[in-house]
Amino acid sequence: MSLTSEHFEAWLRLAAGRLHEQKVALTELDQAIGDGDHGINMDRGFSAIVARLDAGPAPDPTPTGVLRFAGRTLVSTVGGASGPLYGTGFLKAAAALDGVAEADASQSVAALEAAVVGIAALGKAVIGEKTMLDALTPALEAARAALAAGANGESILEGAAAAAEAGALATVPMLATKGRASYLGERSVGHQDPGATSSALLLRALADTASSLARPQTAAAT
């Protein structure tokens, strides 16, 4: 597997569609422990990405170009806590892939690492605080481990997505200590974090993009 600018663009479009479908569900999660806008925010940002991709001008046709375009669009359209956090994640990933035309497995993991580290640094959060990092950190760890074990790109991303999904679920019993949910104290326990949920969605969309492009290639190779 190697991810080109087209693949990243396909990922953004797939994620945008799924976020739009999940808009109400994500917002409901945020109503329980936040202010009821996370689905709306994510949908606004990713819809803007798709609209700008459609309307052009097209971003620079490199992984860096597409990811930077996505990061900037998120920063300037999402708002809230998630806008700067996800925006920074994309911008850091973009920077990590600078000069790369097709990201291989190791480069992809490095980009994910840059994103997660950037988000953690901006949000000053660590794992266990009931935020998107509870999906992103396990995802990064799974990806690193799979890479070290010599797995191919598709299964690395599949592992990351699965870990993110497990991580999102694991936020349910957590007490929030960052973001809006922390205002609730004990009342934040028993609800799944909306940002962790959207992070899992993004990583699942990335894995699906990688595997769907993997399959026809494999078929052709047989």
Binding site: T27, Q31, G34, D35, G36, D37, I40, N41, R44, V75, S76, T77, V78, G79, G80, A81, S82, G83, P84, L85, G87, L122, G123, L175, T177, K178, G179, R180, S182, Y183, L184, G185, R187
Partner: protein, 332 residues
């Protein structure tokens, strides 16, 4: 959901258009960036004051743009922090060469977006930032995102704005903003939730005999749910933590601010103000300035918050200094 809107996506823009027609003598709108700008900004040599936050808290912040208060306000989507582009545009629009103060309510989203905006103008415009965090309902500890910025934000904007208007330097204006925030504490309660227009359903549900104590201003649930009580008792629940956190004592002078959350009639706000006044009188704390009304709201939420600001002569004089904005006006 019953709202006076055309469609949800145009809500904020149309409200800005309405503000521009109603208050064209005070402000102008930069529609491409969604920024409310004081009509005569930038003023050469004057420190610029920029605030912003999600919409749904009106009159905060747009209604406080004008002489003696803000130079620009950046409204985000309802209950969603504005984006850095807005604060960047606002900062550039009001910079008169003396630097710009960002007044930021302490929410992760607001803090991060303002921070990114400050980075965008770094090296070009001197920016100072004051983060308001007056809500005693939230513990200021490692286990939270810190106390929220609520009612004190209105007082910071007025008093720091007064300081800037009479020629205070960026340091002066920042110091006074920090002082106001440090001497003010707030706590709020809700009788009902609010409906974010894009969500269409109430953020939380309260039974007919319940109230939420310790709410913020984003329709979010509060610290705890209680049985509805007489407003005298509710006032005790709100004022008690403020008094002890501020360590107010007999003989102190305060500005007492009873703020409506948006859906509570003024008649009831005056009753609530009276409850607060009785408590303060019992502790020999003097209310030397008052503010009663809807100033930092949470859409149509019913409820109120109490903010107390310890006053000295400097703060009192700056509070009394001329202000002319859509929502606060005196002396001008």
């Amino acid at each position: 959901m019953k709202k006076l809107i055309n469609n949800v996506d145009d809500l904020v823009t149309e409200a800005l258009q309405g503000m521009e027609v109603a208050h064209g003598d005070l402000l102008r709108i930069d529609y491409s960036n969604s920024v409310v700008i004081r009509k005569d900004a930038p003023r050469r040599g004057k420190v610029g004051l920029v605030s912003g936050g999600g919409s749904g808290h009106e009159p905060l912040h747009g209604g406080f743009v004008g002489l003696g208060m803000l130079d620009a306000a950046c409204p985000g989507a309802v209950f969603t922090s504005p984006v850095p582009d807005q604060m960047e545009a606002a900062t550039r629009a009001v910079d008169g060469g003396a630097g710009v103060l960002h007044i930021v309510k302490n929410y992760t989203g607001d803090v991060l977006n303002f921070q990114m905006a400050a980075e965008l103008v770094a090296g070009e415009i001197e920016v100072a930032t004051v983060v308001t965090n007056d809500d005693v309902a939230v513990q200021d500890s490692l286990y939270t995102a810190g106390r929220r910025g609520v009612g004190a934000t209105v007082l910071v904007e007025k008093i720091a704005g007064g300081c800037a208007e009479v020629g205070g330097s960026l340091k002066d204006v920042t110091d006074i903003a920090v002082k106001v925030n440090g001497n003010a504490r707030s706590m709020g309660m809700a009788l009902t939730s609010a409906i974010v227009p894009a969500a269409g359903t109430p953020t939380f549900e309260l039974a007919d005999d319940e109230m939420e104590i310790g709410i913020g201003i984003h329709g979010e649930p509060g610290r705890r749910r209680e049985k509805l009580a007489p407003v005298d008792d509710i006032a005790e629940m709100l004022v008690g933590p403020i008094l002890s956190d501020l360590e107010l004592k007999s003989g102190d002078q305060v500005l007492a601010f009873v703020n409506g959350m948006g859906g509570t009639p003024l008649l009831e706000l005056y009753v609530a103000f009276n409850s607060v006044a009785k408590i303060l009188k019992g502790k020999s704390i003097t209310i030397s300035r008052s503010l009663v009304g809807n100033y930092i709201t949470s859409l149509e939420m019913a409820g109120f918050s109490v903010t107390l600001l310890r006053l000295d002569d400097q703060l009192t004089n700056l509070w009394d200094s001329p202000v002319h904005t859509p929502a606060l006006r005196w002396g001008a």
